[in-house]
Symmetry: C2
Subunit: 400 residues, 2 copies
């Protein structure tokens, strides 16, 4: 450890994730003017932002005095913005949400980081089904807690309730789920959520302590083929919902989201206040301009059809070639078995030989797969298929 | 401690600061349509945002594809934005700053919180001259470090170098300074910064460990009467600069700032990487729209004359009545001796009897003073003076 440089923050955050490493490689290519490559690395939405959002920004610039628009909002966001969020949840999910239970946050990242900080103590455990979004691990470890990885079911990548039960012990404080799932695109079944709720309720009672269910829902609206994503909070009273408009409104870089602590959560008000405390401590409150913008935009639909079309295009193309692809019911990722067991090596070969920038599965606590983020242009998908074919052929298909 | 509610985050952040308590009281009055009160509580700039900023937002909406404008930027901000910041520092301070040493942050809060997280270890000490901005304490304690409060000189509120020397011990990792100062308005002299640098250099050597100087500079440009705020980084090689446009461009709610780790800092690259790590962990990266906006606006001047006029108006009015006021050389706060030793009681009486919303000095680790944030309208200042007079007379002046 270098004199004066904290090892925890360096170790947790300074080492680049595989995702950001690829993302930065492709950013550099772009800056160099290189264009003949295919970037499937990051979940940066490519569907244009709805004109209503742009219009809401313009209107905010007109409608408010600049000092009011750009001045400090309350740390939990404007009341009217939180009322709009509550109304949206109540209309769609009969959620019984109140504005006082909602806090605007700097995206899902801010919501999740604050929620973990507020509800865990050092040494406790957080169960996360694998494969999972890599940043969870960092947010858990930052608060001196431990991640307990529990595999999902093979092939379907649905929750394995028995495996979760085995992992629960007196140190368990939280389970994090993410449906529709990044990276697998699995949409958890209603039955599996009901079973998980029953398990957590029983175990909370047995152990005499609340086990929270953190439901990370940035892909909530991106579900295909008329499937339904379960509304998790309806099934388990100690659910805390983290949301972001990053994906549904293509606002990933604006860091806009919220956390909802339903009134059913044990000590709900204290949990809410602790989350606000954590937001102050970690400086993850939402910026004021977008507080105003989102007040008008919470009811806009997500571009589901766009992403469904891209899914079909890429899924169809890759399975035709012979790739072993999980059929995603939601989100905008394809989870594909790698052509060799070492997904790091596969990631490097795809980039070096075919300029296909994909993300190996190591970051997702799972080996021998790779992830494609298909929030890219249809053109990108179409032109990349011959490169995917050449890659497949260079390996001679799946030799393992 | 309630089951499942972390006490540290609750204790650190859920208890409202005196500032935010008053701020929220006044927000509630406003929402009720009450107008006959005077709000001196919070440093929420009231000088309108420069039209160039509003124009830069409009231009960004025109000039970029929406998915590029609102998509993920690099975590440390766009290269071109960081280049603009470096050029600004180099032009004004001959700073030798490079874009690779700068990271865009969610305001000073994000910059300071990440810097402390990245450079301290549990159990270490951070020295802060009193009185000081209350949030520092929280950011230090969140990472399990301890604040060591060292009084400044009485009357002038300048640094007391001997007192700082006495406080330094093998656990000392950092000193935080803030010039121009919130809450006193003191602008530290160049000589005091030179003396502090010599002390820290000598002690770092003696103790065999780097003592960082975190220079929190949101009021850097708001200095009156031709005085010069010292450019701290020029005098001490292990200075880390935290900046925000909250005050200089009236963008407090947008959470826009940066941290600069000069190349002279020991293990500068590792410190920078650790700060980026902490930013990822705490989710305090800057939003993408304002990355673009600030690229164009970093050279805009702060509205110094406006605030100087307000200072003169309020300082003159209060001293005429008989208040004991520190004459501020910078920032936009007046630091006034309370009319009774108990500043909590004074704060309450001012609000209840005269509807004067001021902040008692407890939050600033100092007693028997109160702070007035004079980033308010001239009208507010003028109409409040009779109320200040009535309050003064009701106490019979300073009886202690």
């Amino acid at each position: 450890m270098a004199d004066g440089v904290d090892s925890l923050m360096y170790d947790l955050g300074a080492g680049k994730s595989a995702i950001r490493e690829v993302f930065e490689q492709t950013m550099e290519l772009k800056q160099q003017g290189v264009t003949d490559f295919w970037d499937y690395s990051i979940g940066n939405p490519n569907v244009p932002v709805a004109p209503q959002v742009t219009e809401a920004i313009r209107e905010a610039l007109e409608d408010y005095e600049s000092v009011d628009l750009h001045g400090y909002p309350p740390n939990n966001g404007y009341l009217t913005t939180r009322q709009a969020v509550a109304a949206n949840l109540n209309r769609r999910f009969d959620a019984h949400a109140r504005a006082g239970e909602i806090a605007m946050t700097a995206g899902c990242a801010g919501a999740i980081s604050s929620t973990i900080a507020a509800t865990t103590r050092a040494g406790e455990e957080v169960i996360i089904p694998t494969p999972y979004y890599a940043e969870y691990r960092m947010w858990v470890q930052a608060w001196h807690c431990n991640v307990v990885e529990v595999p999902t079911q093979s092939e379907t990548f649905q929750l394995d309730i028995d495996a979760i039960e085995e992992a629960i012990n007196p140190k368990t404080r939280m389970v994090i789920i993410n449906t529709p799932n990044n990276p697998t695109g699995a949409v958890y079944t209603k039955d599996s959520i009901i079973a998980l709720a029953a398990l957590l309720r029983r175990k909370s009672k047995e152990l005499g302590q609340t086990i929270y269910l953190l439901s990370d829902e940035p892909y909530r609206e991106i579900v295909y083929d008329g499937k339904q994503n379960p509304w998790v909070a309806a099934y388990y009273e100690n659910t805390i919902v983290c949301y972001s408009w990053s994906k549904s409104l293509s606002l990933a870089g604006e860091r806009v989201g919220y956390v909802w602590v339903p009134g059913t959560v044990r000590h709900a008000e204290r949990v809410y206040d602790a989350i606000l405390g954590a937001q102050r401590v970690t400086a993850t409150v939402m910026n004021s301009l977008f507080n105003r913008v989102l007040e008008k935009c919470v009811d806009l639909p997500a571009p589901v059809e766009e992403y469904a079309r891209k899914r079909d295009l890429l899924y169809g193309g890759l399975t035709d070639i012979g790739y072993d692809v999980v059929h995603p019911d939601g989100a905008f990722y394809l989870w594909v078995r790698a052509l060799e067991p070492d997904d790091d090596a596969f990631q490097a070969r795809a980039a070096n030989e075919q300029r296909l920038y994909v993300v190996g599965s190591r970051d997702f606590a799972c080996r021998s797969y790779f992830r494609l983020s298909y929030c890219v242009s249809d053109e990108c998908i179409k032109t990349s298929l011959p490169a995917f074919r050449r890659l497949f052929e260079s390996y001679g298909g799946y030799a393992w």
